[in-house]
Amino acid sequence: MLQYIIRRILIAIPVLFGVTVLNFFIINLAPGNPVDMMVNPSATPEQLAATKHALGLDQPVWAQYWNWLVQLLHGNLGFSYSTREPVTQILMAHVGPTVLLMGISLIVGYLIAIPLGIICARKQNSWIDYLVTGFSFFGISIPHFFLGLGVIYVFASKLLWFPTGSMNTLGGDGSFIDTFNHLVLPVLVLATGIGGNMVRYVRSSMLDVLGKDYLRTAKAKGLSQFLITNKHALRNSLIPIITVIGIDIPLLIGGAIVTEQVFQWPGLGLLTIQSITSRDYSTLMAINLLAACTVLFANLLTDILYAVADPRIRYD
């Protein structure tokens, strides 16, 4: 197992390298220059040149890449082009809120979706199955921004139950209740999508497992339906569920761009959009790199979880 993990990490290195190359060159394809974004009306070409030089933007792309890579290997993600803050610091400030938002959304989504998916599979073609399936389709089909605007309209603007956005009340007590209040609506939006997707996977993988021979064996032993479903079937349907979770984990980093925008949630999504508008390449590259690492980590985690869930899977 350990050997397997090492091997996976070794494989991840060239992949990550590829990611950085692609990342860097894509971003540097851009016409225009981040420096143009920062100028004030009286800036002269010489001044721009000086700024470019200060940022190393006057070098050829490959040299810029090399510098960036060398810095990266020293654990330095560089400085924001726009605010000159260390990028690491910027990322740190934004990772937390996104992870909080997405983490809670994933948990809420799963907690609702997994039992519902099981019920649907158990009661295939019943009214509850149709209802939940209908909802899950709604969940995966509705764009987050539309749903977000909708819930803001209903719950924030009309009913005044929840705030329309951001993460805390400014100058508030910063209590958990306050954050919770701010979390409700964006979590509602995100969990709808996450849950909708999950319900469908749980349902179909459960249906798949429910048709398996060994469940008939379990039934032939006289076990109760509850035990059959939750002891025998559930663990077997975990593999597809783990796969979905593995795909969802990277959402912790990059999954909420639109929702964060709609709710002004001060996370990585918002940072991304801002970095795009301000052409803050160094920040953008760092975000992408972080996201790519998350994807690779999630893949590894998924594979490890497979082995935990299914004793047939052993890596060596």
Partner: protein, 288 residues
Amino acid sequence: MVVQFEKEETYLHMVMRRFLKHRLACVGVAVFLLILLIALLAPVIAPQDPAKIFNEFEAPPSAAHWLGTDPVGRDVMSRLIFGAQVSIAVGIGAVAIYVAIGIVLGLVAGYFGGWVDMLIMRLTDVFMSFPYFMVILVLVSIIGPSLFNITLVIGLLGWPAIARLVRGSVLSIKEMDYVKAGVALGYSTPKILFQHILPNALAPILVNATFGVASAIIMEASLSFLGMGVRPPAASWGNMLTQAESITVLSSQPWLWIPPGLMILLAVLSVNFIGDGLRDAIESQNAK
């Protein structure tokens, strides 16, 4: 088990029959066709030029403007109708691009194996490691937001999933006896690849592509919503919704945001239903 002659039923017929049993999928087809029709006939059926500016800005629905006018005095109804073109174009265009790329790469990787496979798979790893939406956002912002560009970007980035799918199918189909029989009969490699393997790998691609259309539609809408997609004065459902980012619009001018939102939902939902129906129809066949 013995399979009996029942009717002259081809594979397509059977898939069709199963598909037609899926009621929601049929509704999906109907709705999607309707949207397709609206898109194709937009210039004919739209009451107004979608870019034309009337002197009433933000007017509520009236006989002249069924869904009112937007903040720049354009007819919302007409924009809604023309918006269908965008969604359809991105949805189908982008998916067509990436399916084509994915099939070729997947076939090559799966059939030839070895270092070619290794190379292509690492490349898919690289592409799949990128946060999809984020990269599209960045790329589009870089090469400039436009219908063509987002179609291209989604198309150029979407292929890894298809490539993996095709590769997987090829690897398993390659082991099927009918392919072995083909080799034993001395068929050429391209013949085996394209006549024996590809047709049998198409079904899951079709399902995947259908869901891909749905996600491309959402993607376009989201990009346009963020201002990185189709830009006004061109009408897209996503950019029409941008206007709802205002409490005033949200609470007192519902005609500006509810119709485009519903249209996106309807389009995506219909495609997802079609995908689900196809999957049921195709996969239960494969199971038998």
